[in-house]
């Protein structure tokens, strides 16, 4: 039996799906977590989870379209319509439409454990709707399965036929009056006292920036940094004390020792040291997501994003981009039109993802010491500024008018179990990535570094294939100040995954994580920097062509053309900005350069303000906010 889970957004469909199928699909306290259908066969049913939708007729986003199209193709299957016990009045609108359309509907009243001032008589509800009704707390699997197995569908057609929305709501009101008691209609479910603070005109933005600072501090400066150091020390002591590695292998198989030391220890383990920082960053993002705060951010930033041709919904994608660009791009499906979706997919790579953390941390700490946190914050800010400029240009080329209705889920204390589970999944994915893609490409880098073009083993790096290939590409990067072939080689490896940049630097310099930062200031290393090239390199890494996973996701969501366009745009953007940065830093000192950049930014803002205020209207703009005549 096919069991299709459907209902309004954020009613707990994926939670029920996970419960029925014993899966671990991503669950979040915001609208649009599920973007396409997913299914799993269990002992009793084939369970299908659909994206949330409000209505069968008026489709407002691509994810809703996916859900409605699926329902149309599977009209014979059983629909498990999940409704929120606290918001029956609105949820029953879709239920009425489903029953009226002739689907075999079973109503599942979810979230019954939450505090509510409503008491629902399920038998009366079933009697009025003429469909089976099941109540669940989303925890008792066996009870839910037994209830579903005992379902009988006698008559699911409604006796009345509704033409308008008003008629449906009158019918729903009748049901509520009959089946629900102790209803406090003035209760604004979804807004709490804390919301008044989080959405306060003056406090909202400072609270947001304080939260972001706290996340940065936890990740880069305190707990994250401490745990990374502990892992690094443990790995080093393990390697240094290994008799097998340092005595047996070194003496009996020097080539293999070289491979293990450079490829595995310097390449893969250098990256693995950043596991705590990446996990903490994702843990913080999961807490924000679970609490419902991201929906508040969508409201707060709607003004800014609508000026760029997006809507507040774009905040979900951009914030997820801090974790992983590839995952974030999947959430762009909740935009209303294809143009907005494509625009968001093109913009997301500008947000610095967690894979770039090792690059910032290692290079930043080598040159800026404890002030590194400000450099990292500056890079995130630069990514945001570039994103805004790109969005502004895209909007000028192809303007979009994204309408925006977003449900506010209630603020809640994040589920400890779910937050930990999601963070654990991120950590496992990172370890798997280090053990697969990064290991594979570390091996390729090592082979290219130790073999000549005649495929003979060599320890002389000047004869290596890698040097020949990279030297050929050096002229392209010379205007950026990247004169060393090692720098170019590490950038090329970053096209596969951004973690590879640090992994390949470790292999090329032939040092472990303890000496990596020091080797970067040594001019005899294959990869070395000056203060100036370090800044330009960090900026280039922030903005250049996204990794293969992001490309694949862009291709999947928006097509090959958009994905290739994104690669080209990101490379050109990174190249131009890095060259600008290199020129400014060559002409003046570091701090003079920073002041010059701020001045350029200020001048752009002033020019924009002057141009905006010069606008004159044609006399028909009754709501115009910038009109001088008015």
């Amino acid at each position: 039996m096919n069991l299709i889970l459907t209902g309004n957004p954020n009613t707990g469909k994926t939670t029920i799906y996970n419960l029925l199928t014993k899966s671990n699909e991503h669950v979040g306290n915001w609208h649009g977590v599920t973007i396409t259908e997913k299914s799993k066969q269990t002992k009793h049913f084939n369970v299908v989870d659909l994206p949330g939708l409000y209505s069968l007729n008026n489709i407002a986003s691509l994810e809703e379209n996916n859900a409605v199209e699926y329902l149309k193709k599977h009209s014979e299957d059983v629909i498990l319509n999940i409704v929120d016990a606290n918001n029956l009045e609105r949820n029953l609108f879709l239920t009425t439409q489903l029953i009226q359309s002739g689907y075999k509907v079973c109503l599942l009243v979810n979230l019954t454990t939450k505090k509510t001032n409503k008491k629902i008589d399920y038998s009366k509800l079933s009697q009025k709707l003429n469909v089976p009704v099941i109540a669940t707390n989303g925890k008792n699997r066996n009870e839910l399965i037994n209830n579903l197995l005992n379902l009988t569908f006698n008559q699911t057609k409604l006796l009345r036929h509704f033409v308008s929305e008003e008629e449906i709501y009158n019918f729903v009101n009748e049901i509520i009056d009959y089946a629900v008691t102790e209803t406090n209609k003035t209760l604004a479910y979804g807004l709490s006292k804390l919301d008044k603070l989080l959405l306060n005109k003056y406090l909202a933005l400072p609270i947001f920036f304080a939260l972001i600072f706290a996340i940065f501090y936890l990740t880069f400066s305190s707990v994250g940094s401490y745990l990374s150091d502990q892992i690094r020390n443990s790995i080093l002591s393990l390697c240094n004390n290994s008799q097998f590695l340092n005595v047996y292998l070194q003496n009996n198989a020097p080539a293999f020792y070289n491979f293990v030391n450079e490829c595995l220890i310097n390449g893969v383990l250098n990256v693995l040291c950043f596991l705590p920082q990446i996990t903490i960053l994702n843990l913080c993002l999961n807490i924000l997501e679970e609490s419902g705060y991201i929906s508040r951010l969508a409201f707060l930033f709607d003004d800014v994003l609508s000026a760029l041709g997006l809507s507040g919904k774009g905040v979900f994608t951009l914030l997820m981009g801090i974790g992983c660009s590839a995952t974030a791009i999947t959430t762009s499906a909740n935009m209303q039109n294809k143009n907005s979706k494509n625009k968001l997919a093109l913009l997301t790579p500008n947000i610095s993802c967690s894979a770039k953390l090792p690059i910032y941390t290692i290079i930043g700490s080598a040159f800026f010491g404890v002030n590194n946190i400000f450099i990292i914050a500056g890079l995130y800010l630069l990514g945001l500024v570039v994103l805004m400029v790109q969005a502004y240009i895209y909007n000028k080329i192809k303007p979009t008018n994204e309408t925006f209705i977003l449900e506010f889920p209630p603020l809640r204390v994040p589920s400890f179990k779910r937050v930990l589970l999601n963070s654990f999944k991120t950590a496992i994915n990172f370890i798997l990535k280090a053990g697969s893609v990064i290991l594979l490409f570390s091996c390729i880098i090592w082979v290219l570094q130790h073999f000549t073009y005649k495929f003979k083993f060599t320890t002389n790096i000047n004869e290596s294939l890698l040097k020949h290939i990279s030297t050929f590409l050096v002229p392209i990067f010379m205007p950026l100040g990247f004169n060393s072939w090692g720098l170019v080689a590490s950038l090329i490896s970053g096209l596969v995954a951004k973690e590879m940049v640090i992994s390949s630097i470790g292999i090329l310099n032939g040092v472990g994580i303890d000496m990596l930062a020091n080797s970067l200031t040594n001019s005899s290393s294959a990869v070395f920097f000056t203060h100036k090239t370090a800044i330009v390199f960090l900026v280039f890494c922030l903005l250049y062509t996204p990794c293969m996973a992001t490309y694949a996701m862009q291709k999947n969501m928006c097509g090959r053309k958009i994905a290739l366009l994104s690669m080209a745009i990101q490379f050109v953007t990174a190249y131009v900005i890095s060259m600008l940065m290199q020129t400014i830093l060559t002409l003046c000192s570091f701090w003079q350069g920073i002041v010059a950049l701020i001045c350029i930014f200020e001048i752009i803002l002033i020019i924009r303000w002057v141009l905006k205020n010069k606008k004159r209207c044609n006399g028909n703009c009754e709501n115009c906010s910038t009109c001088i005549l008015k």
Binding site: S55, E166, A188, K201, A204, F299, N401, T403, F404
Partner: protein
């Protein structure tokens, strides 16, 4: 009085008598219960009042006001 909702939210409170638009967003609002007799409590935090929080049927929605069609309103 027939005005745009973007104007209505600037001078709260109003009772929304009916949504008159037939475009997508108006239909969506009607489906969300934004119909005659619904008291709408508006909190607007945005400086340019481009989006607003509107409480409908005991649930809060964030709506971009500039996108909204004409509504029939009664000022209270």
């Amino acid at each position: 009085m027939v005005i745009k909702l973007s104007q209505a939210i600037e001078k709260k409170p109003y009772i929304i008598e009916s949504v008159l638009g037939t475009d997508n967003i108006s239909v969506r609002l009607k489906e969300l219960g934004f119909i005659k007799g619904t008291i709408v409590n508006v909190n607007c935090f945005s400086a340019k009042k481009k989006s607003a929080l509107v409480c409908i049927r005991g649930y809060c929605l964030c709506i971009k006001s500039t996108a909204l069609s004409k509504v029939l309103v009664k000022w209270i």
